[in-house]
Symmetry: C2
Subunit: 257 residues, 2 copies
């Protein structure tokens, strides 16, 4: 690959809680590994406080220099969640309450969203939604900037909708294993062992809780179809070893590798 | 405290291994909590690759804007350890092999240092050494920049020599408990519980291995002497609970609060 073909990204971590030390960031590491599978180089990362001028300055520095920017944090319902405002201002567009998000909220809550929830429905005009398979409202993309949640579990779920939008020459294969009746905490150790054994792959775990039960969808992604297949076999064996009751290999979705 | 009295710092994390996702950074969080005890606000953090121009540009942006900069990583013996070179260039001074470090190396190894070790003895002219109580050569300070190791255990040890050099209005009390005959891994859980219970304090663990045995010096720091005393009592009780054989409350060193 020629240097001019290099596809780059930066991560902008937004949040006083990281700079105060109250929270240990784990999003940067997850994003770095996820992007690596797609052949995207993480070129730089910055952590800024919940201060408008700081967020906008960092965002502008990063989005003009690198191919993509992924932001984490600051999209919740409280007054210090100002990421959407900052991104809109950086792009010189207004915010609007996105009709799709409002509709999702009405369906979810069976009522008109509260002002705090409406705050989370705001998207810069021209932005497209980033699917949130975990919990709460979606993220969004505008230009080369992806705006994701700060909570790692939710951020990781949203990231699954970022990869397919990236301009890369790489075909990424993705396979899902559905585990039912077993909690994520029990899966954590074997999942980590699998991640260590396969540094070229990315692993995601997206737990579900519904009327039929609980469990998690485990996603294995990589560029080498054989390594993905091997890892899926190992994953299924490991889940069996920890006594998972129901382990299902899901078919690849249409359009996936 | 007036806003003009605010003392600020930035962290510059240097290393491809962080941006590739191979390594999860935990230094930022430790530094943030450590600085917080001294009343220093961590204002910004950046992660840059092992690329000279990137390191210098980030260092200059940070050191001209904030009161202090702490860098981590890139001070080892290999060709990609270029932090000292970059800091020297940013300050416009040459590097020299520091006589004190060379002497430490001769004492430690009983011979003239190898070229790889001599590389780690290089300090920008005008720099002062930052004590390394853990393992390997010291870090250094030049102007408002502190250059520390990337390995967390070593970085944390070096940080203990940074706090006393910071210009802050805060008096910080520090107490040390020496635990012998018990490994750090056994102490990890109670130490973490103590850290969670006392977010205003900083805790350090500096293990030792020598001919007399092994163990760790546990350092509790904080601004409130009563909370430090309480935490030290709790720490001693917790070490006793996990069966530590020898737990000694060390006297405060001269000059400490």
């Amino acid at each position: 690959m020629d240097e001019t073909d290099r596809v780059t990204a930066a991560v902008l971590i937004i949040g006083d809680e990281i700079l105060s030390g109250r929270t240990q960031d784990i999003n940067l590491n997850h994003i770095a590994r996820y992007l690596g599978v797609f052949g995207v180089d993480l070129a730089e990362a910055r952590v800024v406080p919940d201060v408008k001028a700081e967020i906008i300055a960092a965002l502008d520095a990063l989005r003009t220099r690198w191919d993509y920017v992924i932001t984490t944090g600051g999209i919740g319902p409280t007054h210090d969640d100002i990421t959407a405002d900052c991104v809109a201002e950086a792009f010189g567009v207004p915010l609007e309450e996105h009709p799709e998000i409002l509709e999702m909220m009405r369906e979810r809550w069976g009522a008109e969203p509260t002002p705090a929830r409406r705050r989370m429905a705001r998207v810069p005009v021209g932005g497209s939604l980033v699917r949130n398979p975990v919990q709460g409202p979606p993220g969004f993309q505008i230009g080369n900037v992806f705006v994701l949640a700060g909570v790692p579990r939710i951020m990781q779920g949203m990231l699954e909708d970022v990869g397919p939008r990236l301009r890369t020459g790489r075909v990424v294969v993705s396979r899902t294993v559905r585990v039912e009746g077993t909690g994520e905490s029990v899966m954590a150790a074997p999942l980590e062992a699998l991640a260590v054994a396969h540094p070229n792959l990315s692993l995601g775990s997206y737990p579900f809780f519904n009327v039929d039960g609980f469990g998690s969808n485990l996603v294995v992604r990589g560029r080498d179809p054989e390594e993905v297949a091997t890892a899926v076999d190992e994953l299924i064996a490991a889940m069996s070893d920890i006594g998972a009751r129901s382990v299902t290999r899901l078919e690849a979705e249409a359009g996936e590798g």
